[in-house]
Symmetry: D2
Subunit: 277 residues, 4 copies
């Protein structure tokens, strides 16, 4: 339904990754190739950590990314070592800032592509499972926001993969109890400013596309002529809903039902198994 | 926090009441005289019944009313016998269409000025009291929307004053249980297209201002020179957060803790007493 | 660059033509089939004459039509015998209400698909050719608005085809003087509330697509099951950038370099020849 | 009609000056004390130079500043040694991004409070006086934008005070020729990233209010408890439409009909005299 991009590595100007690549995320907002929807024009968001990597800045707006001059201005002037960007295709929920990704709480950012099937039937029981102290923080009407707050409820601060597994497990249990055969479809990026985790999973085992750049060379190759990418570190990685540029060979598909932490030295994706709660 | 206007009577062009009076609602969006906030620039809404008085049209937007050209266009071209208009001053909840009034469900429209005190603490328990079948219809994050859905839950369709009394009773009970001394502050307008009800109440017995036009003469006097108001029926009434025009004597203050149905022949306001639930 | 629809005939609810047909204009805003751009998400506008057919109401907004709830509300509640609707794909000019179509002056409405080639080079000389008394009425930065004011300058009020021919002639002359080989590309709809004119022309003689419904049967056939279209008059016509529905046989392509007045009894399109000025 | 703030000095986080002072610019957007209009809710803009002081970033939006979450996010995360902020009160021109300040061209930024009297009558002749090569860069419909492009036309790049004087001289001459007695009312801030100029002038010699902070102590005193302002340099200055905080004594009123360059060591304001062209 949506397209997203997460970057971690050497600090770069956002525009170098959001606008300059050939099939950039901004281009994907106008015509995505691999998405369920070809147009992702129902809002956008970008969130970035500064050099201190504490609370990220999050800008979200309800119009299309492709024609937003403020986004272009920001992208040209903001530099960050870890940032998220998301273009949204709504499947009916309201076009409003609070339904746009990334979501943030404290130093955490979260973005999602996919859906809780029949969310309108499950929304109440899922919302009740959110820590009551957090309930009033729900500002929008999306499944994605509830998923984020469930993950926080289930211990995102201590154990990211475990919290996401319990969130998924709860959705599947409540979904099945409500007669929904395949309750969850998701690719998720989450970060605390230090590390970046990516998840790909669906109850149906036919998850939305997700790719990770094969190495720093991929990022460099996006712009062979660009000085700025010469110096990116070896651990620099991009995780994207669909590959940028014209370089499919440089991207590794994230395996079905897996997750990984994007950090220097370890590109391994591990199996993702929802945990019953 | 907000200002509103409800009209019932002879069909008029909306602009005649929204723009032409001296201290019109649109003027109140820029500088209210009697409101808690002097500026009501955090969104607006207008809803109207057509001549068939079935499902009303509801237009809501997030910018100020005073500079909205589309609102002006509509107001100049729409004619209605029963319409609501609302200008919003947010006290923190998001600036989004789904937080703007009037709210609508089926043929019902609802708008509110006031607040549930400490709503962030009560939001979860109040939301849980909404009929589970309606929970997914909550799209925004305001107390006003939850109040509307509580009233529906408590039988708005059968008994408007009773449903609103039970809604208020629930808020007061849950508020008191949570240690909130004065949980509710409200003026509310609600209509099914046939009749218009107005409520003024607060737990503190110091409710937001509310006025009802004294008779068709008041509406006529708003524009002595205007042909269009010559022929309004005797039962025509305006209910407003603060008087329009320069004619304070022509407006009856709605009594503290009372409600009334605005219909031909009966201008009586009855005591409003929250009903424990 | 854009897609538009103009309707003239028996008064209908706008939604019946804007939303209900299979490949409706709203659907074309998301994925046009015949346009230069497949997405027309850079704003929209709708303008309609009331039963008095005097000054039309014009609603314009900067977001995509496909997700705009206010547009849907209006379309469901407004009935008109003559209306325009337009979805915009900007080629660089600002995303703002004053760049959205239709444009209006007095009782006249105007909308356009196409472009003045190298408009940034011609904008000054074209703007100077606008009647100086009208110059301050230019609020946006599009070629389309300047074209409208040139047509007014050249006598739209007295002679619609002549005024448009002189507008086109001026653009071609100034374009050629500036070294632009093919200065003009346009389909235009214009109305005074009584009659509807449609123009299709380009300097290159390869104009943007334009279709006219073959007869009242076409409009009826858009919704065989719909009661509302049974009674449309014989003179009812739709002019569209690309056909609605799945009924290509029912639409007549407007001939290259031609124009017509859409009125009962005469469906003839005449040759359009720019007039030197 | 508007309120603005220009800052030059030690690099600070924007929010420290935009949000934290007691009567901040954001507060002035809701209720200005000294402005012609008390509400400045018709759009806002902020522009800042990065540490390289080359092309500034400019963010502009059409809603009120006071409720804009994206502005708050930016202000909390952007640090700059030279930035502009502006809140707008329109006197009729369209609510659109291209009518919001600051305006930018290359490394230049410009913002304005005031008006060209009877601009609708003078707009054409003033626009014609803009360098023809720049005409197509005019995107909005304000006097302020035309003033900026006139100043560029008259040599802003070489001689800021001279260019502004010639701009003012032209407006007064064309105004007088058109029978406008007092054609110009302005406070203007302009910068190239290195230096900041401020102008206060009106044909009537009764110019809109403008204040300059008396010294670095004023900026420090805005937040006695704030660590961040301890270290601001001696040359740090704020120029504002009306004083922030509760410290009127710390602000010097910019003299009537004067201008100054805000830079270390020289706080002198010189007489401003329009130059006939």
């Amino acid at each position: 339904m949506c397209r997203w991009l997460a970057y971690s590595g050497t600090s770069v100007v956002l525009a170098d990754l959001l606008y300059k690549p050939e099939h950039s995320l901004i281009d994907q907002s106008l015509h995505s190739r691999m998405g369920v929807e070809t147009t992702n024009g129902d809002g956008y968001g970008v969130g970035w950590y500064g050099s201190e990597r504490d609370t990220p800045a999050v800008i979200r707006d309800t119009g299309p990314a492709w024609n937003d001059r403020n986004l272009r201005e920001l992208a040209d002037h903001i530099r960050s070592p870890l940032f998220f960007a998301h273009v949204r295709a709504s499947t009916g929920s309201a076009i409003q800032q609070t339904n746009c990704h990334p979501f943030r709480r404290g130093r955490w950012m979260w973005m999602h592509n996919g859906a809780v099937t029949d969310f309108h039937r499950l929304r109440r029981s899922l919302s009740l499972a959110v820590d009551p102290a957090l309930f009033a923080a729900l500002e929008g009407s999306t499944d994605s926001e509830v998923m984020f707050y469930l993950a926080i409820t289930f211990g995102l601060d201590q154990d990211v993969p475990g919290a996401v597994a319990r969130m998924a497990g709860l959705i599947e249990r409540l979904g099945h109890e409500a007669g929904v055969e395949y309750p969850l479809q998701m690719t998720v990026a989450v970060s605390d400013g230090e590390r970046l985790w990516a998840f790909r999973y669906s109850s149906l085992r036919a998850s939305r596309s997700l790719y990770c750049s094969a190495g720093a060379e991929t990022v460099r190759a996006l712009h062979p002529g660009q000085e700025f990418l010469r110096g990116v570190s070896e651990g620099t990685r991009l995780v994207v809903s669909e590959p940028l540029g014209g370089l499919p060979g440089e991207w590794d598909e994230v395996p079905e039902s897996s997750y990984g932490v994007i950090q220097p030295g370890t590109d391994d994706f591990l199996p993702f198994v929802p945990e019953p709660v």
